[in-house]
Subunit: 309 residues, 2 copies
């Protein structure tokens, strides 16, 4: 089933211990849609500037991603510059230029309106909510956010959370949102705000899945590892790629009927798989080139890494 | 098969968000031996002062632990005072009094000499090496260390590592020992120093097992999670309890023949199980009271938390 994703399509200049790249194609919606495209149809809503040309468009097209909802505006695309020289787990931002993103008003193409899955990538919660409301027929809505919205735009964010089925955030964000340092208590508090399910991402340590329906005595539903890699070239987009693998897999299984607990568990592993590919090269390079065979083989690698028999 | 463990038996005064306890029975050898005692026979080598009485002795005796090697010396036992008020993942040390531990010269009782398993808990590597050399007949030797020995006593530590089959340390220690921030590369470098296997502990995120024999393309052998708990009362001794569960289980399966790859994998989960119990109460309270049934049930909980089918 088709996923519509709304979020940023951007250029990133990135420096890591492995080197430096200027103006790679990036943005949450880009990583998400590339990762999800291996599992299901993906449609993107975003805004780009005049610096987004046929070469960038081709990155989406090659993966069969619908770019009708990528609006072209006068000016330059969203630009981010950051480095991971001291710590691969945390980006240091050197520069952020919102450019055309500052006035972004998401427009949903008519052909997107039958999407059954909706992903609200990390953007202003006011826009997340608007898109959510304009697609009342969707079957499952997931979303992401960040510390900035949690701290300074809490009321708008809380409105978004009410309309989410699944929220994907990292440890720090979960603790900040709940005002509670204990992960299990924080997860429960966050799910009280709306989402039936919560995925807390732990960077190099993997991610934990919580469901509202999991018995309280159990706490978490599943913990998926991250793959210990011999070289992490560029961590940018790992979380968005996780979300793409996770939600893409969920959407692909949903075609066969109900979304089962087992589907959510497998989706966590596919999320980790796509995150592990994303960090192997700069920007989206690896996600552009990975094959379905490699994905399936890495899924088995994750199984070996975690299963006893 | 019997394990001999050498390490500290101590008193700890601990403050955490859950409260404060004065002079609990603690020390790496105490946590280790309690955790291991659920799987196999355990014999302790340590030194205590005149403040170690029948009440403390009974903690070991109730679990069938051999205390013949706990030497009584004039003076006070090793004492540590610390808190976890800001961060449950990292102790803040307020006071350390070595007391009788300062002049510790491990003496191995004759009845311990047929032990087939030896655990060298975190003490001066000079003493670790001496105990190792005095027990040449052991089948498997595992050990722990800490940043202090890695930084300031490296030559002595490197001698110990040559004689170890398995080293258990945390992320920071592994990276410091190898001088390499990448976990997979660091693990390989540490195993080049001696140990055939390495367990890197990640605190609340679990632990990763590496074997020298694992194909390079795979990197890690297994990643075991930690259990997300609704309340962590006191993290003290979690790593030593992990080591006790891990090594105790290995020793228990070894009685049945060769130590298989599967045994190592299961041992990682039993390590996580015992670590998860340790943090549920102050000091060793929970390890003193846990039952084998609870251990088996939590092992199943870990399986549910990680396995897809």
């Amino acid at each position: 089933m088709a996923i519509t994703v709304v979020g940023s399509v951007a250029y990133d200049s990135i420096e890591t211990p492995a080197g430096r790249r200027e103006r790679c194609l990036g943005g949450a919606a880009t990583y998400f849609s590339l990762a999800a495209s291996f599992f299901t149809d993906v449609r993107v809503i975003a805004v780009v500037g005049e610096d987004f040309g046929p070469e960038q468009e081709a990155v989406f097209k090659k993966r069969g991603i619908d770019t009708q909802g990528i609006e072209r505006a006068a000016g330059k695309s969203f630009f981010w510059e950051g480095s991971y020289l001291d710590n691969l787990n945390e980006a240091k931002t050197h520069n952020t230029e919102l450019n055309v993103f500052a006035a972004f008003q998401p427009k949903i193409p008519v052909t997107y309106r039958d999407s059954e899955f909706l992903f609200l990538a990390n953007i202003d919660p006011v826009l997340q909510r608007r898109v959510r409301e304009e697609m009342p027929g969707v079957r499952l809505v997931a979303g992401d956010t960040m510390n900035y919205w949690i701290k300074d735009h809490r009321p708008a964010l809380l409105e978004v959370l009410k309309g989410l089925d699944v929220l994907l955030i990292n440890d720090t964000e979960a603790r900040m949102l709940a005002g509670n340092d204990n992960l299990v208590q924080a997860a429960r508090a966050v799910m009280e705000m709306g989402p039936r399910s919560l995925v807390v991402k732990h960077g190099e340590y993997g991610a934990t899945l919580f469901h509202k329906t999991t018995p309280r005595s159990k706490g978490a539903e599943l913990r998926a590892p991250a793959l210990p890699l011999e070289q992490v070239v560029d961590p940018t987009g790992a979380g968005d790629s996780f979300a793409g693998g996770f939600f893409g897999y969920l959407a692909s299984t949903a075609a066969k009927g109900e979304i089962t607990a087992a589907a959510y568990r497998h989706a966590m592993f596919y999320g980790s798989v796509m995150g592990s590919f994303a960090v192997e090269r700069f920007g989206t390079e690896r996600l552009q080139q990975v094959s379905r065979t490699e994905i399936d083989s890495r899924f088995q690698r994750f199984r070996e890494l975690t299963h006893l028999d």
